[in-house]
Assembly symmetry: C2
Homo-oligomer: 325 residues x 2
């Protein structure tokens, strides 16, 4: 396991990503602020190239590390697209190992960048093992989804941009909420925010049933999800925190929050009406945590990262029409 990334590594990542990644804005809705009694800022990484923050880490890792004979990655869809895009832009072939039930938009997005896709069953097979076999056979390099210092540093540029935007507007955030699967976004953002706003709390948000990080933070050790609970948050179904990411997050994260499916759908509707953004379910959990009061906004300034927006149009329409239960 390579060492822990530093703030300087995040600054290096930002230089690598300059002109490649979208510098996403920091948005707010005065009307929603009035309702919540505080100030809620959203960082819309759904507007990022490939529709999620994952492009940042993937590009930083592939541009800044060694890569031989191409790239292999395993992913439920957002890391897949990030890696496929970064590999394509940097001239490397890529093979992505994806669950067969990944959303069509994520499959198509990955394929559109010229990557080869190998599917597996989310319930039965170990995707890491499949990726290792593919990499070994072709002498290719695995770009892991989160447990890698270059990946974490790349995702940390989200935090750097939040800090820059806040500083530029004279805003001192009280807390930043990140969605959490394996913990790469959280670790990178926590490192950046902690350096720039040391009094700002970091909270993770996870969907019900997949609260491994919240429970691990309480116990101070990495715990796993048991079974395969149903969840609409396909982007966040990592069984347990990463090793390196948890080493960072156990020290820098204030608390882990957990949100219901109903709160996630309510947050998706709020993203639509208040911010004109399409959030996928896993991308809406941080906003859900703020709106549902898990991280109170009242009297404070809170930043919620909308981490992705890759959702099939018909599924989106159905969830919005259904509304929170």
């Amino acid at each position: 396991m390579p060492g822990m990334p530093s703030y300087a590594d995040i600054e290096s990542a930002a230089r690598r990503l300059a002109g490649k990644a979208v510098v996403t804005p920091l948005l707010e809705s005065p009307r929603l602020n009035d309702i919540l009694g505080g100030r809620l800022l959203v960082k819309p990484e759904c507007l990022q190239l490939t529709g999620s923050f994952k492009f940042r880490g993937a590009f930083n890792r592939i541009a800044g590390g060694t890569t031989e004979n191409g790239i292999v990655a395993y992913s439920s869809g957002n890391h897949a697209q990030g890696v496929a895009a970064a590999a394509s832009m940097l001239g490397h072939p890529a093979v992505i190992v994806m669950p067969g039930d990944a959303p069509a938009i994520k499959m198509a997005g990955t394929r559109s960048w010229g990557a080869d896709i190998v599917t597996y069953s989310r319930h039965d097979e170990a995707r890491e093992e499949i990726a290792r076999s593919v990499a070994l056979a072709g002498g290719m390099t695995i770009v892991p989804p989160y447990d890698d210092p270059m990946i974490i540093a790349g995702q940390g540029t989200v935090g750097l941009e939040i800090a820059d935007a806040c500083a530029g507007r004279g805003i001192t955030p009280d807390a930043v909420i990140t969605c959490c699967g394996g913990g790469g976004l959280t670790a990178g953002v926590a490192l950046a925010i902690n350096h720039r706003f040391p009094d700002c709390a970091i909270h993770t948000a996870e969907p019900e049933g997949w609260d491994d990080t919240a429970r691990s933070l309480v116990k101070g050790k990495r715990l796993s999800v048991t079974g395969t609970p149903a969840s609409i948050c396909d982007a966040l179904l990592a069984r347990r925190p990463g090793e390196l990411t948890f080493d960072i997050n156990r020290n820098l994260v204030h608390s882990g929050t957990v949100v219901t499916e109903s709160a996630v759908i309510e947050a998706m509707v709020t993203a639509l009406t208040s911010f004109k953004l399409v959030a996928e379910p896993g991308g809406a959990v941080a906003l859900a945590s703020a709106i549902s009061g898990e991280v109170p906004v009242n009297g404070r300034t809170i930043v919620a990262i909308i981490s992705g927006g890759n959702i099939d149009a018909d599924v989106f329409a159905e969830l919005v029409a259904r509304g929170p239960s």
Copy 2:
């Protein structure tokens, strides 16, 4: 009728709006570019404060002009919210004359900024007359939706930002497509783009039945819509081009395009899937013009402005679920 705004007036507007309006990004989807065979950039003004570009002109007019005893405006909803927000931020009371069938989200958005709303029937009553009566009674100042040099200059900052973003990324746009109701956005954008990229064509986009600008451009004089054709594009139902706006647009606009309802819905779905943006029907017509080939993207670089995203969640879900016919 006051005089024609200049490029310098747009620069002044940009200075007034600094720190007030969102500098919206210029987004693209490499996958969609591949499909279209060219480069399509979108300027998402749905992310602007109040959910449409209208805030720019309203703020510029109210901050930069004379206003006595408060503001009166007439609007189908987006100008209403822009005026209400600008008036509130600048400490003026506001009365907005709106059609009784305006989308609920536009009514609620206007009210949330503290404005008083007077409703009228879209089919029977002349909103300008009602606004004039209200203004006269209270000694208030009317902020018109488009036929005003300060309004046009404010909307022109959209074009200024497009030009800045293109210049910064080494992009020379072949054409910019603007939605067109009364023509204020078009006039402002045309002035800005013509100054910065004189070879770039400007095209308007209008919904079927409300093609008064397209027909007026062909005839070289202002023609009106007859009757009240049904349209989902509630933001674009101006009967004929403005006087000042048409004086500008007849000289600077290359051609007017017209799009079907089906093309508008297809554009809304594309905004959702390719850009993760919520576009209201009237906000999607420029994108529809590009996707449907009215303004060909193939082999060229085209900028389409998504002008607004104020749509009720249930209506959005229904249109997306229905899809293009």
